[in-house]
C-alpha cells in the first residue's frame, strides 16, 4: 500500500531521514571502496589490460612478470609463424627516471608498434607516437611538453594523451620501438642486442585463443604464452589487492543490509499495535508486507542517490594520485544489489507481520 507507506514516512520524517542518512553513508562507503579499488587495480594493470592484443608471450624465466621477461627480437617472427596467430609485435618496457619542466617523475616507458597488437588503447587526445622522440603519455603532462629521461638523456615530445593505461601505478610513456632501443642502448651501453620484454599477439577470427596460447608455448622455445586476461590476473600483487578490497566492500555491504533489515524489523515491532489494528479492520497481510517493502525501496533508492552524489564529490575532491573514474555498471550493480538484499532483509519484518493475530487488536490487551 503506497498511501500507507508514504504517509507514514511523511509523518515520521526524522526517523526515516536518519535511516536514509545511515544507509546513504554505508552505500557511499561501498561505492567509494569499489571505485578506489577499481582505480588502484586499473593503475596497476591498465597498460597490460589496454593492449589491443588477445594474448602475450613472456620468457619462461619471467615468472609471469613482464618486467622480468627478456626475449630476443627474433621471437616476434617465431610467434607470428604459429598457426592461428594473426599478428605479433614486440613490446619493450623499462622504468626510467625523467624530468618534466625540471620536475622529476618516474615513467614506465613502453616501446610499441603503433599499428600492431602491442599498441595501447585509451587515447583521449592527440595521437600515438609514430616517429623517434615522440610519446603518448598517461600522466600529468600536456601535449607538446617534453620529457627528458634519466639517465639516457633521451627526449620525448608528448604527442598524445592516454587514460587508464598506467602500469604499477606509474605514469606511462608509449614510444616507438626505435625510440625504446635508443633509451635502452643509452642506459646500458655495450648490450649485444636490445631485447623486447614480451610479444603481444592477436589470433585469427576462427582460432581458439587457449589452443593458440598452448601452441605458442609448445612451438617457440623458452617462452610461455598467456591470454591477456590471464596475464593481467597474474600481475604480482593484483590478486591480494583485489581480495582485500573485496573483503572490505563485502563487509560494508553486509553491514548495510543488516542495518536496513534490523531497522525495519524494529520499526515493524514498534508498530505492531497499529499493524494489528489494520489487520483487524480488514487489511490483508500482503498489503502490510507491500507497504514495508515500498518503504525499504524508497529508503534505499533515496540513500543511493545521496551516496552517488557523495561519491562523485569524493572522486572530485580526493587527491589520491590515481586516475579515479566512476564505473557506471559497478555503481548500478551495487545499488541494485543493496536494493535486492535490503528487500530480502525486509522479509524479517514481513514474517513478523504474517504472524500477527488480528484478534489481539480487541480488548485492552
Amino acid at each position: 500500500m503506497v498511501f500507507l507507506a508514504l504517509t507514514e514516512m511523511r509523518r515520521a520524517k526524522l526517523r526515516f531521514g536518519l535511516l536514509t542518512g545511515a544507509v546513504a553513508l554505508l552505500v557511499f562507503l561501498v561505492l567509494l571502496l569499489t571505485t578506489l579499488s577499481g582505480a588502484l587495480v586499473g593503475a596497476l594493470t591498465g597498460a597490460l589490460e589496454g593492449l589491443r592484443a588477445d594474448g602475450i608471450v613472456y620468457s619462461d624465466s619471467a615468472r609471469d612478470n613482464i618486467a622480468a621477461s627478456r626475449l630476443a627480437p627474433e621471437t616476434v617472427a617465431l610467434v607470428a609463424a604459429v598457426p592461428g596467430v594473426q599478428e605479433a609485435a614486440g613490446v619493450g618496457t623499462l622504468t626510467s627516471g625523467g624530468r618534466v619542466d625540471a620536475e622529476s617523475v618516474d615513467f614506465q616507458v613502453f616501446g610499441v608498434d603503433a599499428a600492431g597488437p602491442g599498441s595501447p588503447s585509451g587515447l583521449t587526445e592527440g595521437r600515438l607516437a609514430e616517429a623517434v622522440g615522440e610519446a603518448a603519455v598517461d600522466g600529468d603532462v600536456a601535449i607538446g611538453q617534453v620529457i627528458v629521461l634519466d639517465p639516457s638523456g633521451v627526449e620525448l615530445t608528448v604527442v598524445g594523451l592516454l587514460r587508464g593505461a598506467q602500469f604499477n601505478a606509474l605514469p606511462t610513456a608509449y614510444t616507438t620501438l626505435d625510440t625504446y632501443d635508443e633509451v635502452v642502448t643509452a642506459s646500458f651501453p655495450g648490450l649485444p642486442f636490445v631485447p623486447v620484454n614480451a610479444v603481444a599477439f592477436t589470433v585469427t577470427q576462427d582460432a581458439d585463443l587457449s589452443a593458440v596460447v598452448s601452441a605458442i608455448s609448445d612451438a617457440v622455445p623458452e617462452v610461455t604464452a598467456y591470454s591477456l586476461t590471464d596475464a593481467v590476473a597474474l600481475i604480482p600483487g593484483i590478486e591480494s589487492i583485489s581480495q582485500s578490497f573485496g573483503i572490505l566492500v563485502g563487509l560494508t555491504f553486509i553491514i548495510g543490509i543488516v542495518v536496513i533489515g534490523f531497522f525495519f524489523l524494529i520499526l515493524t515491532v514498534q508498530k505492531l499495535r497499529a499493524f494489528t489494528l489494520l489487520r483487524a479492520i480488514g487489511t490483508g497481510s500482503g498489503r502490510l508486507a507491500t507497504s514495508v517493502s515500498v518503504q525499504i525501496a524508497i529508503v534505499v533508492l533515496l540513500a543511493s542517490v545521496i551516496a552517488l552524489g557523495l561519491t562523485l564529490l569524493a572522486v572530485e575532491g580526493l587527491n589520491t594520485g590515481l586516475p579515479v573514474s566512476i564505473n557506471v555498471s559497478t555503481v548500478i550493480g551495487t545499488i541494485v544489489a543493496v536494493l535486492v538484499f535490503s528487500l530480502l532483509a525486509g522479509l524479517l519484518s514481513v514474517r513478523r507481520i504474517m504472524r500477527i493475530d488480528p484478534a489481539s487488536a480487541v480488548g485492552a490487551r
Partner: protein, 249 residues
C-alpha cells in the same frame, strides 16, 4: 438471574423473517488441558436490522470474546455465526479479512486509530480496502466527520485528539464502509459520564439513521437506556434480559 436461557425467543424474530445476525450455540475455549478457559458457553442470540442492542456483563465475562467471534476476528471452538445468510464461521482467512473490511464496523476497546494517519485519513484508509470510488469516499468521510462534530479536527493525528474525539473518529471509521453490522466494545470506558452519553447517543443516531445493526458492549448500566434490547453475559453464559435494571452488578 430472572431470565431463562432465551435461545428459542431470540432465534425467531418478528414476522418470521430471518434475523440479520444469528449466533448459534457458540462456545469458545481458550487454551487446552488444565489451563483451558471457557470464555463462552453455548451462546445464542439473534439481532435484527435497525436494532441497537447492549451486551452487558462484568469484566472477564466474555463480552469481547463474543463480539470478536461475531466480527470474524476470532474463530469459535464450536457453534456458528450467520450474517445476512453468510456463514461467517465457514470463511477462509482471506475471506474473513474481506468480510471485516466490507461488512463489519469495529470500534475496539482500545487502540482504535492508526497513529500516523489523520482523523480523515483513518476514515479514508478503510474505504481504500473496498471498491468505493475515491471521490465518493472523500465525500462520505467529510460528511461523517461533520456529523460527528469533528470537521475542525479532520487533519489532526490521533495523539492531537482528546479521548472523546478519538472515540468519535473510531465510530466514523467503523461506519465508513457502510457495514451491515457495527460492533462497539466499551465505547465509554475511557470517558466521563457526560461525554460517554454523548458518544453513545451519537452512535445510536448513526446506527438508526443508516439502518444498521449495532451491538454495544458495556458494563455501564446508564448507557443501556439508549439501546433497544439488552443481553447479559455472566461467566460465558449469555442471556437476554427484559429489563436492563435487573442486570446490575
Amino acid at each position: 438471574m430472572a431470565e431463562q436461557n432465551s435461545t428459542s425467543e431470540t432465534l425467531a424474530t418478528s414476522g418470521g423473517v430471518p434475523a440479520l445476525l444469528r449466533v448459534d450455540e457458540v462456545t469458545k475455549i481458550y487454551g487446552s488441558g488444565h489451563t483451558a478457559v471457557t470464555a463462552l458457553q453455548a451462546a445464542s442470540m439473534s439481532v435484527d436490522t435497525n436494532e441497537f442492542v447492549a451486551l452487558l456483563g462484568p469484566s472477564g465475562s466474555g463480552k469481547t470474546t463474543l463480539i470478536s467471534i461475531i466480527g470474524g476476528l476470532l474463530a469459535p471452538t464450536s457453534g456458528s455465526i450467520h450474517l445476512g445468510g453468510v456463514d461467517v464461521t465457514g470463511l477462509s482467512a482471506r475471506e474473513l479479512t474481506r468480510f471485516r473490511a466490507e461488512r463489519v464496523g469495529f470500534v475496539f476497546q482500545s487502540a482504535n486509530l492508526v497513529p500516523f494517519l489523520t482523523a480523515r485519513e483513518n476514515l479514508l484508509y478503510v474505504a481504500g480496502l473496498t471498491k468505493m470510488p475515491k471521490s465518493h469516499a472523500r465525500q462520505r468521510a467529510d460528511q461523517l466527520l461533520e456529523e460527528l462534530g469533528l470537521a475542525a479536527r479532520a487533519k489532526n493525528v490521533p495523539e492531537q485528539l482528546s479521548g472523546g474525539e478519538r472515540q468519535r473518529v473510531a465510530i466514523g471509521r467503523a461506519l465508513m464502509n457502510d457495514p451491515d453490522l457495527v460492533l462497539v466494545d466499551e465505547p465509554t470506558a475511557a470517558l466521563d459520564t457526560a461525554l460517554g452519553r454523548q458518544v453513545v447517543q451519537l452512535l445510536r443516531r448513526e446506527i438508526k439513521d443508516r439502518g444498521k445493526t449495532g451491538i454495544m458492549v458495556t458494563h455501564d448500566l446508564r448507557m443501556v437506556e439508549y439501546t433497544d434490547r439488552v443481553f447479559e453475559i455472566l461467566d460465558g453464559h449469555l442471556t437476554h434480559v427484559e429489563s436492563p435494571t435487573t442486570a446490575g452488578h
